[in-house]
Amino acid sequence: MPKKLLARPALCVNCRICEMACALQKSGIFSPVKARIWIQKNRKGLDAPMICRHCLVPPCEKACPVEGERPIRRDKESGIVRVFTEQCIGCYDCVAACPFGAMRIDPHTGHVFKCDLCDGDPECTRWCPTGAIQYVDTKAIGTVSALDKG
């Protein structure tokens, strides 16, 4: 099974280094609005990394009204859910549909964009100083996230 990003809010301290790592990696500029990952207070009041889960049945894909070949597609082999901006109509239904706040809007272009796991080598996990974002084997997700429970 492919690896997945796992957020551990209990370890996050809101330094936002991940946002800068992502923005720099993906757009070459320092500006968190270009980042695919961002930190936001969750319902428990903890600072939590908002990350794409690359869902098996992605709500963003489902919400997309474009007919024919959709601009949001999940690659079966790698498990990566991607946006193809050429076909995107900019309705933002996918942004509203994502339960994890992982679909973002570029304020400069109006396009939506999202995490693509840096094609299997996510830059953010290499920068996170506390281990609040980890890239783990799908088999291990249950075990690792259980560390913060109970």
């Binding site: 301290v13 809101n14 330094c15 936002r16 280094i17 946002e19 800068m20 790592a21 923005a23 720099l24 990696q25 070459g28 500029i29 320092f30 500006s31 968190p32 609005v33 270009k34 903890l46 600072d47 304020p107 400069h108 830059e123 290499r126 920068w127 100083p129 506390t130």
Partner: protein, 635 residues
């Protein structure tokens, strides 16, 4: 342009004009950013003798080429103006997320001029800058101001620097709050905001900026994050932050109970131990871009303040409002911490000021009549909180205290000034300066008055072998806290690091001022990676010296000379009463020798403490030398 955003934003509140200016290379390359450029702008644009509370004073907000990059603690904002507390250079910096947001909006520096007729706030939304009415925000505490502004501007991610009621009431040590619990506390930058009737600056920035070499930058940034994490103090400091110092200073005999009348031999000192404080802390929080995350959130579970929760409490406020005020209840200090954050008053200076008032009361210099019936008796925490609120509201004795302890003592007379410890009107931190001769020198020559962050040599706190001290600082006694020898080079070494941290908007706890291997050379590498301009160790040293000399020239222009480079209060008069340093004090002859040595090291005239022409010209400051000459100030 890389690293810098490239624009200075100038806002005049009197005629309500907004102007974007190109960021000149002379400033960028000669002073980097933050405190460096702010200090030069202050020197150039604020004429000598202006009223700190008048429209001629200006307020400079500065970021740096590292601010907002995500690299090592790059989240700070530096604010500078002529200080209403000390009358000399005033500046203070804070963490949080405001600085980066300003930079992402496209501005390296924000210059506020003039004064508004009615309360206003400034709204910066990338290129859109607007002066807006703040009548509805005036009088609100800081968290309410944040909530109302974010609601009004329709974006919860707007970052805000705001003042509270203390700044509106022109309390001379009002703070400027950025995010929850981050304060530009010292020297009254919030007071200058209040005088300009500027309640807040709200920023949303999306434009961003570029690095010269993104790949190299990423490599350097990751490398330094690792180095910080592997530093010897990282593990403890990331858990407890500056609260670490509480127990250390008690054990070292450097605590200052009851306004420096006692050390750690008070019966409630255990309540101020690091571990005792940590019981109230619920989680760690970081400023932007910081792998250290030394701040906390806290919640009090038991006692009279049960349920009180808040952000960020540090060593300084714990010590100043705790033992220094004779306060036996550490939870009361957490309550005071919240009041300081909400009303926007410096937690450190307010504590030191109240401590002096308590001692005046003890000695009968002031009585219940002066305090409107409030018994300022050591240990009366209710009285302490009441007097703090009266200071914030400028009522009764609080109106006097709101001008700062040195000014209040001068008004009160009766020898009150003997019990106020300060240097140039800046309070001495709540650590016993008599036990640290190099720190005393640093306080005496600091460009913003008494203050540890200007270059206290931390090695004096921890024993160092004489051979090592000789190797590092050229004198085997340099790191000995009791010695007056070799302190000039020692203080200059740490002052250079601190100056550059401030100019780069990075936190001193990620530098060689603390236990992290980031000094001039490494800072140069970081700036080079961000800007593409080559900054080696030598050039970084010159920049630190240049900033330092421009600040000194500003002070000289305001009339400061060698006679002012001293410590006021009991440190020069009375010995330490107990503990490991019993009997130790600051000796006038020793202080004079340290000053001679320091002036020699930095190239200032021995008799006057004024930078020599040779020193200024070596640093490319011929214009400054010429101006001082024309004013008849040159030695």
């Amino acid at each position: 342009m890389y690293g810098w955003a490239g624009t200075l934003l100038r806002v005049n509140l009197t005629d309500r004009t907004v102007r974007s200016e190109e960021h000149p290379p002379t400033l960028r390359h000669g002073y980097l950013g933050g405190r460096g450029i702010n200090s030069r702008l202050l020197y150039d644009e604020v004429k000598p003798g202006v009223d700190p509370l008048g429209p001629e004073n200006k307020l400079f907000f500065g970021t740096s080429p590292l601010t907002g990059t995500g690299l090592v603690t790059s989240g700070r904002i530096h604010v500078t103006a002529r200080s209403p507390l000390t009358g000399i250079l005033g500046d203070s910096n804070a963490g949080g997320h405001f600085g980066p947001e300003l930079k992402w909006a496209g501005y390296d520096h924000l210059i506020i001029e003039g004064a508004a007729e009615k309360p206003v706030y400034l709204w910066i939304d990338d290129g859109h800058v607007e002066i807006r009415d703040a009548g509805h925000l005036w009088g609100k505490v800081v968290s309410e101001t944040y909530a109302m502004l974010r609601d009004e501007l329709g974006d919860p991610r707007v970052r805000i620097a705001a003042i509270g009621p203390a700044g509106e009431n022109l309390v001379r040590f009002a703070s400027l709050m950025t995010d929850h619990g981050n304060a530009c506390g010292k020297t009254g930058m919030g007071t200058v905001m209040g005088a300009k009737r500027l309640k807040a600056v709200a920023v949303r920035g999306t434009r961003g900026f570029r690095a010269a070499d993104p790949e190299r930058f990423k490599a350097v940034a990751r490398d330094w994050t690792q180095k910080i994490r592997q530093g010897p103090a990282y593990e403890a400091f990331s858990r407890v932050g500056t609260l670490m110092y509480l127990s250390q200073y008690h054990a070292q005999g450097r605590s200052v109970a009851r306004n420096v009348q006692a050390t750690a031999d008070i019966d409630y000192i255990h309540r101020y131990s690091t571990e005792s404080m940590m019981k109230h802390m619920t989680r760690s929080v970081a400023c932007f871009g910081c792998p250290i995350h030394c701040k906390h959130e806290f919640k009090i579970r038991k006692g009279p303040y049960a349920g009180e929760a808040g952000h960020g409490t540090e060593f300084c406020i714990m010590s100043a409002h705790g033992p220094a005020c004779g306060n036996p209840d550490e939870t009361a200090v957490l309550r005071i911490n919240n009041l300081c954050n909400e009303y926007g008053i410096c937690g450190d200076t307010s504590g030191i000021t109240l401590a002096a008032a308590f001692e005046w009361y003890q000695r009968g210099i002031i009585t219940r009549e002066d305090t409107d019936g409030i018994p300022l008796e050591w240990g009366n925490t209710e009285a302490q909180i009441e007097m703090l609120m009266k200071t914030i509201r400028r009522e009764g004795l609080g109106d006097l205290l709101a001008d700062g302890s040195a000014a209040a003592a001068a008004r009160i007379g009766k020898g009150a000034e003997r019990f106020v410890s300060h240097a140039k009107g800046g309070d001495i931190d709540a650590v016993d300066i008599r036990t640290l001769k190099g720190c005393a020198l640093s306080d005496a020559v600091s460009s913003r008055g008494g203050d540890p962050q200007r270059g206290w040599p931390g090695v004096e706190f921890y024993p160092m072998k004489p051979e090592k001290a000789r190797k590092l600082f050229g004198n085997e006694h340099a790191a000995d806290p009791r010695s007056y020898e070799g302190k000039g080079a020692l203080v200059n070494h740490y002052a250079s690091i601190c100056t550059l941290c401030d100019a780069l908007g990075i936190c001193k706890f990620s530098s060689a001022w603390f236990a992290t291997p980031i000094a001039l050379k490494e800072m140069g590498e970081l700036v080079t990676a961000a800007t593409g301009v080559d900054f080696d160790e030598k050039r970084m040293g010159e920049i630190a010296a240049r900033v330092h000399n421009v600040e000194r020239a500003y002070l000289v222009r305001e009339g400061i000379t060698r006679k002012d480079d001293t410590i006021h209060g009991r440190a020069m008069e009375e010995p330490v009463p107990s503990g490991p340093y019993k009997g130790e004090r600051l000796d006038r002859d020793g202080m004079a020798r340290m000053l001679d040595d320091y002036y020699r090291v930095v190239g200032w005239d021995r008799e006057t403490g004024i930078p020599t022409r040779e020193t200024l010209e070596r640093l490319g400051l011929k214009d400054v030398a010429d101006q001082l000459q024309a004013m008849g100030k040159m030695p």
